[in-house]
């Protein structure tokens, strides 16, 4: 034992390499499953790579940043990017607001309504996006949908106008993603000591004040996670737009980046252009996440 120890201390690189050795299996798997595909994605984005190249009908051609310059010089890309950012921001804000409000509500109601709300939320969560979108679309159908009948809107078409179509999709996105926020925040609130909340209530704080001054600061790590999650999800929304607006809306007015990538690139097997869009999305999401984490760090919060 003693000899073994002295031998290991006589080789300082071992002490240094020790942690890495233990981390190696995880790193290898992460590298294989994450880095390698990203590397491939980046590589493909530099070539002219379509189905003809994959199946060997034509030789692969190196294009440098040709795919990127084609993408950036397409005016539609920029308008789609702007629409995606705004739409994702609206979705994240609405999802967080609804999720947090219902989480607070959950702590204030009795067991039976709480169970009912939980089950309803879990039902929405478990519904596949395609099913949810189709049902939602049916509810708002101009000819057969109950919503128009109840609101007395006649045969108003919700998907014809750009904003009304985006609004309809936003409702569906919020509906299927608030349960995650609600359940997570609810779990967080449960972990907050009851005395703190009681003290705030005794001091005469309103429900809103308790949330803003007590719960929100204490739940900050959890809120950070659900915000980043929501940003990533809503930025990458595909199914809802694709199903509800018929692949991008009237004259492509409801395109978001993911649907744009599918329509412009993957549906016609232009893998290299699609890969370039993928890389751009990856960089944007990475930047958003880093900036967000940085802002939190500056406020003195450790994650």
């Amino acid at each position: 034992m003693i000899r073994g120890l002295s031998r290991s201390s006589s080789r300082p690189w071992r002490r240094w390499s020790g942690p890495w050795l233990y981390l190696a299996p995880a790193l290898v798997i992460l590298g294989g499953l994450l880095l390698y595909p990203i590397y491939q994605l980046g590589l493909i984005s530099l070539f002219h790579y379509t189905q003809a190249q994959v199946s060997g009908g034509e030789p692969t051609r190196f294009e440098g940043f040709g795919n990127y310059s084609a993408l950036f010089s397409d005016g539609e890309f920029w308008s789609v990017l702007l629409a995606t950012v705004l739409f994702a921001a609206a979705c994240v804000a609405s999802t967080l607001a609804v999720g947090c409000a219902l989480a607070v509500l959950l702590t204030r109601v009795r067991a039976v309504p709480r169970l009912a709300l939980m089950l309803a939320a879990l039902g929405a969560w478990a519904t596949p996006a395609v099913t949810g979108s189709t049902v939602w679309l049916f509810l708002f159908d101009p000819d057969f949908g109950p919503v128009n009948r109840i609101l007395g809107l006649g045969d108003h078409s919700w998907t014809y106008g750009r904003f009304s179509a985006f609004f309809l999709v936003l409702l569906e996105v919020v509906w299927c993603s608030f349960p995650f926020v609600m359940v997570t925040v609810y779990a967080g609130i449960r972990a907050v000591p009851a005395e703190v909340l009681e003290a705030a209530a005794l001091d005469g704080a309103s429900q809103w004040r308790i949330w803003r001054s007590v719960l929100a600061p204490m739940l900050r790590p959890i809120l950070t996670v659900v915000t980043i999650q929501s940003v990533i999800w809503d930025f990458k929304v595909f199914t809802q737009i694709y199903v509800m607006t018929g692949g991008g809306g009237i004259a492509n007015q409801n395109l978001v980046l993911n649907v744009y990538a599918y329509q412009q690139a993957f549906a016609s097997s232009q893998y290299s252009l699609g890969a370039a869009i993928g890389i751009v999305m990856l960089l944007i999401l990475l930047a958003v996440t880093l900036v967000y984490l940085r802002l939190l760090r500056r406020q003195g919060e450790e994650l």
Binding site: G32, Q40, I44, G57
Partner: protein
Amino acid sequence: MKLPSRLAALLAAAAVVTACAPQTSSNSSSEKDDKSGTLRVWLFQEVGNDPKAEVVDSVVTAFEKAHKGTKVDVEYIPVDTRAQRVKAAFNDPKSAPDVMEFGNTDTAGYVKDGGLLDVTKEFGAWNESKDTDPTAKTSVTVDGKLYGSPFYVGVRALYYRTDVFKELGLQPPKTMDELATTARKIRAAKPDLYGLVVGGAYTYGAMPFVWANGGELATGKGGDYASAIDSAAAQKGIKAYTSLFGDDNCPAAKCAGMGGNDTITAFAAGKAGMAIGGDFSHTAVEAGKVKGEYAVVPLPGVTAGSIAPAFAGGNNIGVLKSTSHRTLAVDLMEQLTSKKTQAAMFDAMGFLPTFADVRQQVAAKNPYVKPFAQTLAAGTKFVPASPAWSQIDSQLVLPTMLQEIIAGKKSVAAASEEAAKKMNSAFGSAG
């Protein structure tokens, strides 16, 4: 045991990739021409596939009897995911079929991908091929070479409600202008019906208007196409089609987003006076509310008595380049698309034969085929035989153009110019 070996494979793959180029498969044509063994066939899985399978089985049985030592393995692949299956087959020749059914607009793309075998010589030598419809033949031709044999064709014509026409004292329209006025009369008399139900995403419903006015999608030959969708004639056709969207016929808010199936659904549900539907829509309409109260005529052209050129849709059967049974596979392709098979296939599935004489025979027996046969006989059009077409199609270039005009976002001239630009860039990049 499994995980470490996979890991090792991953690491090995990571090491190999230092070569620094994305993977490609070597899809060279097989030199082998085995005269026995198993032939794999992929056909499309249709709605109600059993009658199709019966016809195919009888062809296969006869084929196996005629060629000792051969076995034919038929697989029906779902239409929705065919693109992925076919791509996978091109990428991995070992799992590819020998003979395959494909949509005729995919021909040029598959040829460029290097997947289909040139069968010009065999097709020319086949004694039945001389009766093949010229448009059907165009749909298997790329750069003057043939890459398969036509299996069936599909064309669209004008469905109309006989009860509504009788009640309002209307006659089936004789010209395209009459079509529009008739549609508006129906809508005016019966506001809960669309006059002629049209769709902003219904490209093949709009194209006859362009073609009838003398316009073209694109001009050129042999992979070198230029868009003609912004020509004066084409613009006239686009204007004729898009002017049908409005509260006096088919309100833009509802109709701009419709595709071909939506218009047929509306017609079958009794919500429209007229619709542009295919012979393949016959079953759906028969199953709807309007059964027994509709008739079909060819879509009228610009002048009285003329027929608007229709898009010749349909499917082909081809041989894959990677086959190791070249002779047998080509023979099987011919058997599957022979006159006898196509006649039986019509009885089973209602697919219109690609041979003019066979089509005449079935039209004589089935009155509903007549308007479609007339449309085919009057001359049909096909999309540009360019691999760029699949790109133009999936990038929704034409629906976007139509919808921009319908929604009042752009003028006919501006929208068609924009569409022409996008088409030309696709022709340019796909060569």
